[in-house]
Symmetry: C2
Amino acid sequence: MNGLAQTPEPPYWAVIFSAHRNAAAGDQFEETDQRMMALAAEQPGFLGVDTAASDIGITVSYWADEESIAAWRRNADHAFAQHEGRTRWYDAYQLRVARVERAHSFVRGQ
Amino acid sequence: MNGLAQTPEPPYWAVIFSAHRNAAAGDQFEETDQRMMALAAEQPGFLGVDTAASDIGITVSYWADEESIAAWRRNADHAFAQHEGRTRWYDAYQLRVARVERAHSFVRGQ
């Protein structure tokens, strides 16, 4: 384990979420973020997720197919979190759905 | 400006680079990283880049087409930085090339 999502051979799908947090977002963000990551991991077709945050936050989740992404978008708890994101937590975000065509990895000493 | 890459309507391409830094990587990483970001921005077909780093680093660069990505990979300065990345800076990384099919954005107050 090196802290990076381990995914199967392409093709599969990526949801690239980049966001600028609202400085006055208040509490419940971290808790909801953790809960959504755990909930996503239970969904059919979920392959993994990478997340990092500094000036902006980037979360890339990986999915087996577009149907899995559509089902996750419709999930009731997730839909509520999306609403909170728009009304409270984010000043701006970009969501991109992409088909991963090629991938390669490097691990030191392998 | 909200700190997020502003990209045209899909389709376009994304290069998703997720990496775990070598704790003993030493200097020159930040300098080279900044230089590569500036150099990428000068390449034909470059559309934008988002980057964030905490436990892992994620950089997503956006490109007009696959040819632009291939040309950037072959760029001599970039090729040297890739070599340094493998030999010194990273314990592990994943590089994914994906075709962005759909995108939407949110900006508060718009």
